[in-house]
Structure formats: C-alpha cells, structure tokens
C-alpha cells in the first residue's frame, strides 16, 4: 500500500470539499449552532435571570428521578442554577455533540464518493495506477479526518463557552464532565466512521451527492434516540455507557466498512456508473 497515493487522494477530496459551499456551510453552521449559539443562549438566560426554572420541566424531573448513583454523586454539591446548567448542557446536550461527526463525515463522504460519479470524473480516477484499496482508504480518510478534527475543535470551543459563560454561575472550571471523555475520544470517532461507512454504501446506490447526503442524513435518528433515551431516563451517557456505546458503534462501522470495501472495486463501480 502506497501512503503517498492515499495522501494525495485525501488531499484532492479535501481541496474539492473546501470549494463545495453546501458541505462547507454544514461544516461551519452545524458546530456553530450546536456548540456555541444554543449553549450561549442557555447560559445568558440563566445568568441574567438566575433562574433554575428548567429544573421544573417534567423531562428534567424524570431524568433526576432515574439518575444513576455515580452521576448523582458527581452533581451532589451543585445548587439549583448550577444543576440546571450541568443537566442540560452537560448531559442532555451530550448526544447532540454526536450529530456533528455524523453529519460532517457523511456530507464529505457523499461529496467524495457519489460526487465523483456525478461529475463524471470517476472513470479517469479508476484508470490510474492506484489500487482499489488505496482509493478507498484515501477517500474514507478524506471524510473521517476532517469530521473528527472539526468535532474536536468544536468540543474545545464548547468547553470554552461553557466555562466562560458558566463562570458567574459556577465560579470555577466545571466542564468537561468525566462522562464527556469517552464520548469525545471514543464514541465521536466511531460515529464519524459510521457516517463514512454508511455513506459509501449508499453512494453505490444513488447517482448524486445530494441523494447520498440526504439518505445518510437518516443516521441522525441514532442521535435522536440517545437524546430521547437520556430525557426519558432510559439510558444515561455515563462513562461506562459511553464505552459500551462506542464499542457497538465501532462494530457497526466495521461491518459497514467491510461491506463497502467488498463492493468498492473497479468493475462494480464502472457498472454502477454505466447504469
């Protein structure tokens, strides 16, 4: 396997992505809204009103009732305002963070795999001396690496926003909570890989970038499931749950990658673009 070839394939795809406005907008807007705007609004409201009204919300109440002892211990010393911020931005928001790797990886992968066919550049690429594996890895990395990097940067920004905006409420650096570490360093990359694997498979069936992107967007249901699971107290993203969840998602991503590699060969790709 030639890593120089893999690097140039990834470089080319990233260069192209940087010039695709729809992908670029999603790379900037999604993190901005989820990781900056929403938490900032919440912090401003709590700061200005000093209110902990959110704690009276039935969903939050249900979360409290079913909170596992380890997390209860973590939150034990907090006052009502601190508790409302920690519950909403520290726990309820945690699955929302996973939307980013999914959306980013699938939008770049759609651009890279389906976009190549849509722009009729696929055949010339297949006539090069790169092996099927080098082409696949280069393209998969072009989607995976930026998704992980943007998610990591977003996490850093989120940490800054929560600590700066939350300082008047907490008086100390309170974030990240321990539960975020497996989420950021284990579950988030797994979700990025899942987004790439699913989009590669979908790209084989659809002819356009938008088609692949929209179909892979349905993966967001997984994240919504986690949000509902946490809100209903059914599942908590504790450290252990994070580790297990990451393992399951990595496994699923592995299966999808295996299937995608099987169908990523010149013959199949040429047949697909001909029909």
């Amino acid at each position: 396997m030639n890593w120089r070839k893999i690097r140039i394939i990834a470089w080319k795809d990233i260069l192209e992505v940087r010039q695709n406005k729809s992908v670029l907008i999603s790379m900037v807007m999604v993190p901005l809204i989820i990781m900056v705007v929403l938490p900032a609004v919440m912090l401003v409201v709590v700061n200005t009103t000093g209110s902990a009204d959110a704690l009276n919300d039935p969903d939050i109440q249900m979360m409290f009732e079913r909170i596992p002892p380890s997390i209860a211990q973590m939150l034990g010393d907090l006052n009502d305002a601190q508790l409302s911020v920690a519950m909403i931005l520290g726990f309820l928001f945690a699955p929302m963070f996973l939307i980013m790797p999914l959306m980013l990886s699938s939008s770049i992968a759609a651009e890279s795999f389906a976009g190549e066919r849509e722009r009729k550049t696929l055949e010339a690429l297949l006539y090069t001396a790169a092996t099927d594996t080098e082409l696949f890895i280069g393209k998969a990395l072009a989607a995976f690496v930026p998704a992980v990097l943007v998610s990591l940067v977003s996490f850093i920004i989120y940490t800054v926003v929560l600590n700066v905006g939350g300082y008047p409420i907490f008086g100390y650096v309170w974030f990240p909570l321990d539960t975020w570490y497996p989420l950021v360093f284990w579950v988030m990359p797994a979700f990025s890989a899942l987004g790439v694997g699913a989009t590669v498979l979908i790209s084989a069936k659809v002819q356009t970038f938008m088609g692949a992107y929209q179909a892979s967007g349905s993966l967001v249901i997984l994240v919504l499931g986690l949000v509902v699971g946490q809100a209903s107290g059914l599942i908590y993203l504790s450290v252990w749950v994070g580790l297990v969840l990451g393992f399951v998602v990595w496994l699923a991503a592995g299966v999808l990658f295996f299937m995608a590699i099987q169908q990523f060969n010149r013959k199949t790709l040429l047949y697909q673009s001909a029909h």
Binding site: R4, K5, R119, K120, L122, Y127, T128, R266
Partner: protein
C-alpha cells in the same frame, strides 16, 4: 518493431449480454491503431479490458507484456488514457490536476513539476496553469486531459473519442496536437472513434467493430480492397461520348459508373494499368479533358462494410 498489444479470441459478457465476441487483433509498437464502430460496438469495453478494469470471460490479452487480469495496475502505470469526457477535477487548477494524476502514477515531485511544465507549454496552457479547470473552454479542457494522458511519458496511449463534442476548430487543433506529440514522443496510440475523418487522418491501421466482434481490419488501402478490389479513375470528356459501354472492353477495366455522356468513373485493376486505359480511351475516340485517380474515403468503406454485414445478418444481399 514488436507487438505492444496482443488480443486473441477475447470474450466479455455484461450479465447475459455478450459485449465482446471472439475479438482478435494486435497493435505494433509505434503505430496509431483505430478502433472504429457504432455506439455499442464494444470499443470502450475493449479499452477497459485492455487496462484490467474488467475481467475477460474468455480469450487472452497481453499489453506491454502484462496480462491485464493479473497486472492491470502495471499497465495503467505505464499507459495513458483519455476517457470519453475530459474527466478533470474542475475545482482544481490545471497544475493541481496534473500533480494529482502524477502522484497516482508513481512519479516523484520533481518529475511531476518538470513534465507538467513541459506539457502545459506543449498544449498551450502555460498561461492558465494556475486557473481552475472549470473555467476552461471545452477545447482547453480536452487539451488538459491530453496533457494528463501524456504525463507519464507513456509507451502506450488510449484515446476514447478524443475530439467528441469539440467545435471543428478545436477538434482540428486537438488532432494536430495528437499527431505532433505522438511523433515527438514515439508513443503507440490506440484510438476509439466513430469520427471517420479523424480515423483516416490519424490511424495507420484500423479495426472496424460491430456488435463486439471484428468486421474488418487492416490499413486503409487494405480495407478499400475489401469493398472495391481495384482503384477508381474519374474521367471528364471534352465532348459527349456515345461508346461508353465499349470502355469495358479495354484491358484492365473492372467496372464502370457512367454519370453522363461526358463523365464516367472507371474501376481499374491498379495504378499500373492507367497508361493502358488512357490509350484505350483515345483509341475509342474519347477526347479526355481530365483524368483523376480517386481513393475511396474511409467513410464509404466503413458504411459499405457495415451495410454488407447488416444485410448478411438479415438474410444476405438482394
């Protein structure tokens, strides 16, 4: 001069459809070989098989000594391909496009830089080297795609419809460039086309395909012989000539095509018989105004061969 491509009894199926059937040909080093045929004749499939993109379901192929089914990568590394569409990355500059394909072909950075400079100059694109390919005209895109195909100094070049979709001026320019660069670099070229004028201008030998198999193969004079064994003379007479039928009696005349009492086309055995024909005409009392040997254009050869084959498939000629 050795054979750079050898194909014997090649077969290929798309599902139940027999795309290539019993196709055999070879290409000599340094020649320009044309694959002609209507859409769906199997030209592009043949190129894909030669590059190891598809697996043959029968027969054998050797390209530069490699079997494409086992060493497709090596063939793709040593050859250049121009696909039917320029297939350029339009958001990348001309130079970035060449760099991308250079690395994939295994060239080092210095080689890529030197060769890109040389080719951009040769194909008159130096002034736009750092502009995005998407801003280029169709002709410029095709020239850039040709630079890409020639990037690795390939021994063998596959050109699939190189002037398709270009205006006459751009097409002529591209044809000229292909002829020039090919001569400078000594590249063997295999061209797929249904542009017969282009094939006649560029190709040393031709393979006419129909429904995945060989209809005819050879140099243009050899193909001409298949539809018309002799050569044609166009004769213009000064005054009306009443004894047209007697021209058949002149030794060396094969057939006649009388246009009017002053104009006739005569098929003769060979160039060597022309003086004899002229004497015969004079002896018959014909006043010759002009006599011009005529070569059958490839288009006529092609259409007649396709037509004969079609009639053959439909129960033979009337």
């Amino acid at each position: 001069m050795g054979k750079i491509i050898e194909v014997a009894r090649l077969q290929h199926k798309y599902g139940d459809f027999q795309a290539i059937q019993d196709l055999s040909f070879d290409v000599q080093q340094g020649e320009v070989f044309g694959l002609l045929g209507p859409n769906g004749a199997g030209k592009t499939t043949t190129v894909r098989l030669l590059n190891g993109m598809f697996e043959a379901s029968g027969g054998s192929i050797s390209v530069m000594g490699f079997d494409p089914m086992k060493s497709g990568e090596k063939i793709r590394e040593k050859s250049g391909v121009l696909t039917e569409t320029p297939a350029l990355y339009e958001r990348l500059t001309a130079r970035q496009n060449l760099r991308f394909f250079g690395v994939l072909a295994g060239m080092d950075d210095q080689q890529i830089e030197r060769r890109s400079h040389e080719l951009l100059e040769m194909f008159d694109l130096s002034h736009r080297a750092d502009d995005r390919a998407g801003t280029f005209s169709k002709g410029m895109k095709q020239r850039l795609a040709l630079s890409r195909a020639w990037l690795t100094n390939p021994k063998l070049l596959f050109l699939d419809e190189p002037t398709s979709g270009l205006d006459p001026e751009a097409a002529a320019q591209v044809r000229e460039l292909i002829a020039d660069v090919r001569q400078k670099e000594g590249t063997t070229v295999l061209i797929c086309t249904h542009n017969l004028d282009e094939a006649q201008r560029l190709c040393d030998r031709l393979l006419i395909m129909r429904q995945g198999s060989t209809l005819a193969m050879g140099t243009l004079p050899e193909l001409r012989k298949l539809v018309s064994p002799g050569m044609w003379l166009e004769v213009q007479l000064l005054s009306p000539f009443e004894k047209m039928d007697q021209i058949r009696t002149i030794t060396g005349v094969l057939s006649l095509d009388v246009h009017s009492s002053q104009s006739v086309k005569i098929e003769v055995e060979s160039e060597a018989t022309i003086p004899q024909i002229v004497s015969g005409l004079v002896a018959l009392g014909a006043l010759i105004l002009r006599l011009q040997p005529q070569e059958i254009p490839l288009e006529q050869v092609y259409l007649q061969l396709q037509n004969n084959n079609h009639k053959g498939h439909n129960g033979g000629a009337k």
